[in-house]
């Protein structure tokens, strides 16, 4: 006799409960004790309540050897599905550390590939929650091949839908390249680490004794390598941060980023900037305060804050429109661009361009960082990325020169010549090929040397040079600056410029792709 509906229902319910339990309560408690949440708890924190739809709960692993054919691996150690974040669609995969350490086997990989394919096909962002002991060694080529399949898919989806990786445990070995191929990476304090080889392998092969945190903890990737976009205190905060980030991003590259009705007035005067930006060029100031003052109140979402601190990047809103902010930070290297800043900036610029996010650039840059160390770190190769990224970007590009805009730094921070749509300058702007000191040394060396009062002669020549060539009216006279404005007008003028350029259309040349100097 066929089973009746009641029996079928009970059987399915029991099966669901069993599979959703993953590795079961004892292993889940072990994760909780480390301060971690389980894969399904994380998904609940990511999505709006009741919106998550799991698929492939019944997926089975392919292991046949070493007794694995008899072992059950619920959902093959990864939960995939779709849901809503603030009412907007989003795909997710979350590795389940309670199921044989979240190891990456063939089916596990196929599930992740499937959800990325769906994200690309249906045009939704994908969030990957990584928490895995690495490749499942018993599956050999099955796992290795799926790594390749996964990398291939990240690349196929790159620039089509936003891809966000959350590191909520270890991400070891080849798998570390999966987040690296995505757009943003956030890590969790203490419990996360990313490296291509863990401590035992490092000791065996290169004879170095180390630990997970020093190899690739959040401090390493937040400050030294720039792999991470930010560190959050725990899983809950990391998922909250991700929900906030998604609020700035279009679902895919065919859309514009989401507009929200602003609470801040577009006409708000920003004269506070007069307090923040010293007219004495030798005094430093806090560029973050400038950003907070100009953009919609509380809207600045900074990325890679602790890496290459001489350049500040992040998303913000201007009269409700999402923009990407790129700003020199005079507090570090006086704002000079070094190889790390160029790398950080260019990657962000390209993300914004791919996802239709206009760029607003604040310049206070004395140039590219010079000296042997900077040259040996390949400032030419890396600095070229900034020029390339800005020149290539077809989104609206609006630049304001706050103080210094010297030489290559001026071009690399998006001048008119690199395609800026609108360029403003404050009266404190110093725009020039070469600063007065250097120029006067070259132009008037003999005069200064033969002068009876050399210091006086130098000072006079410098002042004269400043007035003639460095003063922003010189650049404005040559149309490199569209207008010289007062600090109090900056917000209003940026908004007017942005809203004028929002519908900008600029065709990129017909080619497969340019050759970015990476």
């Amino acid at each position: 006799m066929a089973a009746d509906w009641k029996e079928l229902k009970e059987r399915l319910e029991a099966e669901r409960v069993r599979l959703r339990a993953g590795g079961g309560p004892p292993l889940q408690e072990k994760e909780h004790a480390k301060g971690k949440r389980t894969a399904r708890e994380r998904i609940d924190l990511l999505f709006d309540p009741g919106t998550f739809e799991e698929i492939d709960l019944f997926a089975k692993h392919i292991g046949r050897d070493y007794g694995l054919d008899k072992k059950e691996v619920p959902a093959d150690g990864v939960v995939i599905g779709y849901g809503e974040v603030n009412g907007r669609g989003c795909m997710v995969y979350a590795e389940d550390f309670t199921v044989i350490a979240g190891t990456f086997g063939e089916r596990h990989g196929k599930k992740i590939c499937k959800i990325i394919d769906m994200a690309r096909k249906y045009g939704f962002p994908v969030v990957g929650i990584n928490d895995s002991g690495g490749a499942r060694v018993t599956e050999q080529m099955g796992a290795l091949s799926q790594y390749g399949q996964l990398f291939y898919r990240h690349v196929a989806a790159s620039g089509v839908v936003p891809q966000i990786a959350l590191i909520m445990g270890p991400v070891a070995g080849g798998q570390a390249y999966s987040p690296a191929l995505m757009d943003f990476i956030f890590m969790v304090e203490k419990t996360s680490a990313m490296f291509i080889a863990g401590p035992p392998l490092v000791e065996a092969v290169v004879y170095e004794k180390t630990d997970e945190q020093s190899l690739g903890g959040p401090k390493v990737h937040g400050r030294i390598t720039g792999v991470s976009d930010g560190t959050l205190a725990d899983d809950r905060q990391c998922l909250e941060h991700t929900r906030r980030l998604l609020g700035y991003l279009p679902l895919n590259n065919q859309e514009r980023p989401p507009y929200v009705t602003p609470e801040d007035s577009p006409d708000r005067e920003t004269s506070e900037l007069e307090e923040i930006i010293p007219t004495d060029q030798k005094r430093l100031y806090n560029m973050r305060r400038v950003i907070q003052c100009v953009f919609d109140r509380g809207s600045f979402f900074e990325l890679k804050k602790d890496f290459a601190q001489n350049l500040i990047i992040g998303l913000a809103r201007l009269n409700g429109h999402v923009v990407g902010v790129v700003a020199n930070n005079p507090v570090k290297y006086n704002g000079a661009l070094d190889y790390n800043a160029a790398d950080k900036g260019s990657r962000f610029i390209r993300f914004c361009n791919a996802f239709n996010i206009p760029l607003v650039n604040f310049q206070d840059v004395p140039g590219f960082l010079i000296g042997t160390r900077s040259e040996h770190n390949a400032i030419i190769r890396h600095g070229a990325k900034m020029l390339y990224a800005y020149a290539e970007a077809t989104v609206p590009k609006i630049t304001c020169v706050l103080r210094k805009a010297y030489a290559g730094g001026y071009l690399a921070m998006c001048s008119k010549d690199l395609g800026a749509d609108v360029v403003f300058a404050l009266p404190t702007a110093e725009i020039c090929l070469m600063g007065p000191q250097g120029a006067v040394n070259i132009l008037f060396r003999k005069e200064i040397a033969s002068s009876e009062t050399p210091e006086e002669t130098r000072a006079r020549r410098e002042a004269e040079f400043m007035e003639k060539y460095v003063n922003p009216t010189y650049a404005a006279g040559l149309q490199h600056v569209d207008d010289i404005i007062l600090p109090g007008e900056l917000r209003r003028r940026l908004i007017r410029a942005l809203e004028m350029t929002l519908d900008k259309e600029e065709e990129a040349p017909n080619r497969k792709h340019g050759i970015m100097p990476v």
Binding site: L284, P366, L369, R373, S374
Partner: protein, 71 residues
């Protein structure tokens, strides 16, 4: 506990405002350096006493060169 004060970037030391034995408070400006066309103050990383100064006015320094030790 001794804190090492390192050069924030390549440049030249213009002024040293303390001498060994001086008490300093966190964030006090203890040196001024010039680099990339700007003067930059170098501040004490912690409260303490200047134990040693490793540079002289006019010295050229590289990023992360040891400038002083605060104890």
């Amino acid at each position: 506990m001794a804190e090492e004060l390192l050069a924030p970037m390549v440049g030249k030391i213009l002024k040293i405002k303390v001498k060994p034995g001086d008490a300093v408070r966190e964030d006090d400006e203890i040196m001024v350096m010039e680099s990339m066309k700007l003067e930059t103050g170098i501040h004490a990383p912690c409260d303490g006493v200047v134990k040693e100064i490793k540079v002289a006015e006019g010295d050229r320094v590289e990023e992360d060169d040891l400038l002083a030790i605060i104890e």
